[in-house]
């Protein structure tokens, strides 16, 4: 019994000192490193997830911005188109108005000229009739002459 206690105590001491201490230390170190690498992998995964989420958010922002820009451009184009149409319409109206007025003026002027010419012709005819006396056939001839002159004047100029 004494031998056993002595042997066991000695063995326990030697093993504790030279065998179990380094083995358990190595085990603990390895388990620590495993735990650490697992934690590091976990962290890296979390970081990647974070990055992905931020990219997604950014992408969504870009998309909505693009949509806004497109809508803005579209509305601008529509406004421009309407503006152009309105301007063109107004311009055409003005041109039409202007030409209408010009034509009316021209008409007036022509009529005025015509009236003046007719008056001069009739004055001329009257003068000739007065100079030749009261001979009826002569008078008729004069009349005919005057009318012919008038017709010649009134005929459209080539």
């Amino acid at each position: 019994m004494v031998w056993t206690v002595v042997t066991f105590a000695g063995l326990a001491f030697v093993l504790a000192r030279f065998a179990w201490k380094p083995i358990l230390a190595a085990l603990d170190a390895r388990e620590d490193s495993l735990r650490q690498s697992a934690a590091a992998a976990d962290k890296a995964q979390k970081a990647a997830e974070e990055l992905r989420r931020s990219y997604e958010a950014q992408l969504a922002g870009v998309e909505s911005k693009t949509r806004d820009l497109l809508a803005h451009a579209e509305s601008q184009a529509r406004a421009l188109k309407e503006d152009l149409a309105r301007t063109a319409h107004a311009q055409a109206e003005r041109i039409i108005d202007e030409s209408r007025k010009k034509w009316a003026d021209e008409e007036q002027r022509l009529l005025r000229d015509l009236r003046a010419d007719v008056a001069r012709m009739s004055l001329l005819a009257t003068e000739k009739m007065l100079r030749r006396g009261l001979d009826k056939p002569f008078q008729d001839r004069l009349m005919q002459e005057a009318l012919g002159d008038f017709e010649k004047w009134a005929a459209p100029k080539p």
Partner: protein, 248 residues
């Protein structure tokens, strides 16, 4: 053939020399020799593994010892002692491997089983008893440990009854450790010898194959029991030390 003589030859110790020092007697015997061989094997192989582990080497032997150490740590010591168990871990590792090697020595032909000697198992149980009390005093202080021996909230008049009972329980647990290991290790040997003795009792040739195959089966069982009893001794030691460390 003298059956009693054969049993004695195989089961009992053989004293080579004897020295008395007062009340103590130191005997150099076969069991002691085998125990020393087991201790030497344990010291050499595990110290070698430890030194290789210290240098960061990781070969098969180191990994094998490590896996056994992890088994003792995670399945025997830490569940019963908690984190405080790390301080007692070397003791339980030594207990497990020392008992295991002594048990396995008994399966080597021509050798003997030191754990089949009640003096050896009694000494191991005394070591566990010592560990239980040392751990209790270390965790709670002497007064605290003595107080923690009986359940908390006990009526004062019951204490004179409870202390002897609890102390007796402590001794019984240790005594059971000693007897369990001894009986388990010697029982297999007795059964093997009984099977082989049948051949000489019947003195018929056809008995031999039956007896030898039965003995072979028991030998294989003994191989299992060698591991099982080392495990149980260590596990119960851990439970008792854990009970002293985490007293109710």
């Amino acid at each position: 053939m003298n059956f009693v003589h054969t049993l004695e030859h195989h089961l009992l110790d053989h004293v080579y020399s004897h020295v008395s020092a007062g009340p103590l007697s130191f005997r150099f015997s076969k069991h002691l020799l085998v125990m020393w061989i087991a201790a030497a094997v344990a010291a050499a192989s595990f110290v070698a593994a430890g030194q290789m582990a210290r240098r960061g080497k990781r070969n098969r032997w180191v990994l094998f010892v490590e896996s056994l150490a992890v088994f003792v740590r995670d399945d025997i010591v830490l569940p019963n002692l908690g984190e405080e168990g790390r301080a007692y871990l070397p003791y339980f590792l030594s207990t497990f491997f020392f008992i295991l090697l002594m048990n396995l020595m008994g399966l080597v032909p021509g050798s003997a089983t030191p754990t089949g000697n009640i003096s050896v198992t009694a000494a191991l149980a005394v070591c566990t008893f010592f560990m239980i009390n040392v751990a209790g005093v270390r965790e709670h202080g002497f007064g605290g440990y003595v107080k923690s021996l009986v359940p908390h909230g006990m009526p004062v008049w019951l204490l004179p009854l409870m202390y002897p009972i609890e102390l007796l329980g402590l001794l019984t647990k240790t005594f059971a450790l000693c007897i369990r290991l001894f009986a388990n290790m010697i029982a297999g040997h007795i059964v093997i010898l009984a099977f082989l003795a049948l051949i000489f009792l019947f003195e018929k040739v056809w008995v031999a194959p039956l007896s030898v195959s039965a003995a072979l089966g028991i030998s294989l069982l003994e191989l299992f029991v060698a591991f099982l009893q080392a495990y149980i001794f260590t596990l119960l030691s851990a439970i008792f030390v854990g009970g002293a460390v985490h007293s109710h």
